[in-house]
Structure formats: structure tokens, C-alpha cells
Subunit: 327 residues, 2 copies
């Protein structure tokens, strides 16, 4: 039976179309999308071709992670509020904020899932530093960290990198999630994401966990093989994780991404960090969204996503893969 | 300056990233996606390979438009409400409704934009009939008509067709639009879409109009070359349009689609119909969304869409093309 499932605590629905179902391996890419031959301007030795560096992490005297402004930002340096002439129907303001690029490794042909856990932990340090720095601007209301991997995930430069956009408004989906979380906390005196993990820990959507971090396939997954990573401790943003938590997070991210790469042949994916806007409370989490299906007219028009891969099947697939690599 | 723009009357934002801008022709596909050689099971002569026909429109003794159930529906025939064991966090119900296919022409190689206006008007009659029929089921709360054209728009069968999904819930985005529209009507005693056209009729986002129907590029466009078609008369659904209005609608749809085909080399696109749910008031409109850009991590995580094609430029491009074909 095809099911309508509601998001844990938001009023947002998906259709889990089991009856249309495919086996996990039918989602695999026929051909791995190979990076074209480097070097590109994200590579070591081409530092003077990027905008001025903001920050770097070094190892043995050379950079291993590097951050600089996006050459073609989606944001604006100007801070202007304008109301159009349209009697309240045409409202605009400058897209004030910053748009940064974080190059994850100097090596052109590397994929994030192939990097060592230690290296990914350093990347998480860089994310934390950039989040903290961007939050200092009082006009910035929210900072979004995200990654686009592969053509179907909207990347234009193939050298592996993440991005950060800080903005003078809280993006709609973050705002809606914060509002729903606040309502839940008010009504039940507990955090919806802490409660969610308490339920998912016992069940068939659990993917992996250690003492600090948990990973599961969300009940109302919008993407085949979607995975959510949360710190077990109720924390509102990445900067507040200690060293051990960051290492667990790096390990979990590596496990999910290398499982995807191994079983689906390096698929396109996005991930994004949902952190609490300033002064708000939201249990920080990372959403990993493989882009192996397409949203079509029904999804765009209705906001109800049709997903043919039940999260229970997806989580089972992850668990099988992780067991194999354990052995 | 890159701008944050608010939707006319909903609390939904986009970034119009002018500074990243491309010229209209840079969005054109290098190579037209050709249909593979027919016939397929949507073609004339293969009627017995589809599920049982629901309806057809004939001309000179042969069908020109045909409707039947989707062989792999996203919906379910069963009507069940279930609450999961997850203490209110796991809520589901059956995706009760119908999923229908409307084949727009017996000819395998045709594109909707290439069909005659008279043929498109008959297609609109079929849409109206299917909407009306599906609404009769008291358990159906909303009916969505939509089209997926081309691989980037999520189509799996290339023979040109539209789809209908009727559902036991009102999809999130329709519900949000209806709520926002009701709020606007309560506050201002007028319809937000009637008011929108009053503003856009004078300006640079106007694409075309006749006495009955208007087309414009919406102020907070989520897609490059997005176009909205509305009947000028305040009407809640397609069935309530008279013959002349339907003909105007067919003409407008043909103009937009053939402009896209001509200037962007048969791009992928979706369109969807926003009609009022039963017992509600919403000014019916059609949203045409070319799929020539990709939503990436920022869009998926934040719900704020980055669009590099200002609607003013897009509308100007449409107007230039339509002037050329007039001459």
C-alpha cells in the first residue's frame, strides 16, 4: 500500500510509493562520473586564481583545507530594505550576507567519502570556525552550510568543496522547522529530535550510532537513501560539539558517504546543516540527500514528495553494507 | 545587487542573483532531446497494452486524446488511517486517490508545444472532465493536474502526456497558498491574484494577454523563464471556464511552450495547475517551470531558491519572441 507519511514534527508529507519500488541496486549509476583531468583553480598551486583566502588548515606545511569567498556569490555586500511599488505585493531587500567556498582537499580527483576520518574531522573544525565567524555579524540571521556533489546535485565545479551562505533572513524551511520544534517543546517539554532518536534507536530505520552521534533514515524521507546525522547530546550548532563529538560526526559522515559511493557508484548528493538561528533552539542535525530521483510537476506544485524507496529498506541496505566493511 | 524577493502574498522568498546572470541564450540546450523511435504503448494501435481506458476524445473516428490509470500509481485504492507507535511522531495514512495518465496525441514524435491550438483546447476539455470526475469522490480533498516534459523534468515515458493525481489530503503547497490567499482576502476584501495581475499588467514582467487570459513572469520566480497563466475572471478551477476562455488558455499555453521550444531548444519543463480544493476559494492558475537549472543543497535545506534569471529579463525575452512570430 502506498503511504502518506507525515514528517516527525512538521506538517509536511511525503508519499512512500512502495508499490513502485525498485531494489537498492537499481538506483546505482551505470557509470561513475569521473572528474576531468586537473588541475583547476581549487587545486594546490593555483591559490592566486581564487578570491583572497579567508582561512586555511595546514598539515606538514601545506594547506589541506582552504576557505575563500565565492567568485560569483548568490549574496550581496549591500544591506538595503526596499518595498516595491506594488501595494505590498512586491517586496524585496538586498540578499545581504556572505557566500564562501570551502575546498576540502588540495587533490583534484578525491571524493569527500574517500578522505580519512581525521581529515574530515579537520573539515568539521573549519565548518565550525566559519559558522562562528559568520554569526558575529549582527545583521546575519542564519548561516547555512551545504555541499553539492555531482552534476545532478547542482555542482558546477567538480573539485570537491562545500559552501556556506549566511543571510539576513532565516530561510523558510529552517524557520518552519524551528517554529514546529518550539511548538513541540512547549506542548511536551522535550525536544522533538531527542524524542525522534529515542524512537528510531529501537527500530528498522536505525543506520548506526556510537556514544555521541546517531544516524537514521527519516520516517518521511524525501529522497531515496536519505540519512540524518544528529549528535545525541541536545546541541544547537556544530561549534558547541567537543573534540570527541566532532570525531564521531566525521566518522558517521564518512560511513554514510562511503556506503553511498560503494553501493550506488558515486552518486550525486547534497547535504546541508540545520543549525539553530541566533537566539533560537533547534537540535542541530545534518541531512544527506542522494539525488538519484527527480522531483517533477507533482512535487513542485504540491510540495508533497513521492519517494519510491522506503526508508526501512534504505536503512537495511546501509546496515548490511556497514556490517560487510566491519568484517 | 542580488535581491531577496518575497512571493506576492505568501511568505516564501527567492534570491534573484542578477550578478551571476547569464544571457537568455546561454540557457539553451546544446542538443535537442529527440524521442527514440516509436511506437510505444502510448501510441495509436497499442491501446490494449495500457490499463483500461477511462476516457477519450475522438476526431474523424480515431482518438486524439486518451486517459487511463497509471500502471504504477503513486496513490493507493485503499483508504486507511493509521497512527504509528511513535507517540505522535510516526503518523501515516494510505495515499488514497487516483493517478491517471492523459496521452495528449497518438503521435509518438510530437511535442505539446507543436500541437494546434484547437487540439490543445480539446486537451483542456479533457483536463476539465477529469478534474470534475475526480472531485466527485467525497474522500478526495484535492486534484492536481501536471506535466513532466523531458528527462530533467522527471519524465520516464517520452511520448507526450500529462498526469493527474487526486489525493485524500490537500498538498502542503496548495494548502499554504490557499491559507495565504484567504488571509489576504480577509484583510483587503480583494483577491491577491486579481490584484497581482492589476500590477503586472502595467509592467515589465507582463508576457501576453487577451480579453480573457493573462501571462506574466512572477516577481519571485523560482525558475528561469517561469511563466504563470491566469484567467482574468476570478475562477476557482478549470471546469468553470467557458469555451472562449478555454480557447484563450490553449492559445496562451501554446505561445509559452512554443517560445520555450524555439529559443531554448526544447527544454525540459513541468507545469502544474493550482485549483481551489473543494469548498475553498483560490484564483485558479497554471505555473510553467522550465527545468534548466538545478536546485542544490541551499535550496533543499532552506527552501529559498536561487534564480539567476531575473523575471524582467525572462518576460522581455518572451515578448521579443512573440513579436517576431506576430510579424
Amino acid at each position: 500500500m502506498n503511504e502518506l507519511r507525515k514528517d516527525y514534527f512538521r506538517d509536511r508529507w511525503v508519499i512512500i510509493a512502495k508499490d513502485r519500488g525498485q531494489r537498492p541496486d537499481q538506483f546505482a549509476k551505470k557509470k561513475k562520473e569521473e572528474n576531468s583531468a586537473g588541475p583547476c583553480f581549487f587545486c594546490a598551486g593555483h591559490e592566486n586564481e581564487t578570491p583572497s583566502e579567508i582561512s586555511r588548515i595546514e598539515e606538514c606545511g601545506r594547506w589541506i583545507i582552504r576557505c575563500f569567498p565565492n567568485k560569483f556569490p548568490a549574496t550581496s555586500d549591500e544591506f538595503v530594505d526596499v518595498e516595491g511599488p506594488g501595494d505590498g505585493l512586491l517586496v524585496k531587500r538586498s540578499a545581504y550576507g556572505r557566500h564562501e567556498i570551502i575546498v576540502e582537499t588540495p587533490e583534484h580527483e578525491k571524493n569527500l567519502g574517500d578522505l580519512e576520518v581525521g581529515h574530515i574531522a579537520r573539515l568539521i573544525d573549519m565548518y565550525a570556525q566559519r559558522l562562528e565567524e559568520n554569526r558575529k555579524d549582527p545583521r546575519i540571521k542564519h548561516v547555512m552550510l551545504f555541499k553539492n556533489q555531482g552534476g545532478d546535485a547542482g555542482t558546477s565545479i567538480e573539485h570537491t568543496h562545500s559552501q556556506l551562505i549566511s543571510l539576513c533572513i532565516v530561510p523558510t524551511d529552517v524557520r518552519d522547522e524551528v517554529e514546529a520544534s518550539k511548538r513541540y517543546i512547549r506542548e511536551r517539554c522535550s525536544c522533538p529530535l531527542c524524542d525522534t532518536w529515542r524512537i528510531e534507536a529501537k527500530g528498522e530505520r536505525r543506520i548506526l550510532e556510537d556514544d555521541r552521534v546517531a544516524v537514521f533514515a527519516p520516517y518521511a524521507s524525501r529522497f531515496p537513501f536519505q540519512a540524518v546525522i544528529i549528535p545525541k547530546r541536545h546541541t544547537t550548532s556544530l561549534e558547541f560539539l567537543d573534540m570527541d563529538e566532532r570525531l564521531s560526526l566525521a566518522f558517521a559522515l564518512k560511513q554514510v558517504l562511503s556506503s553511498l559511493n560503494f553501493s550506488l557508484n558515486y552518486p550525486s548528493y547534497n547535504f546541508y546543516f540545520h543549525t539553530a538561528p541566533k537566539g533560537e533552539d533547534l537540535h542541530f542535525h545534518i541531512d544527506i540527500c542522494p539525488r538519484i530521483s527527480k522531483w517533477a510537476g507533482f512535487e513542485l506544485g504540491g510540495g508533497v514528495i513521492i519517494n519510491t524507496m522506503p526508508p526501512e529498506t534504505a536503512a537495511g541496505h546501509y546496515r548490511d553494507l556497514l556490517k560487510q566493511t566491519d568484517e
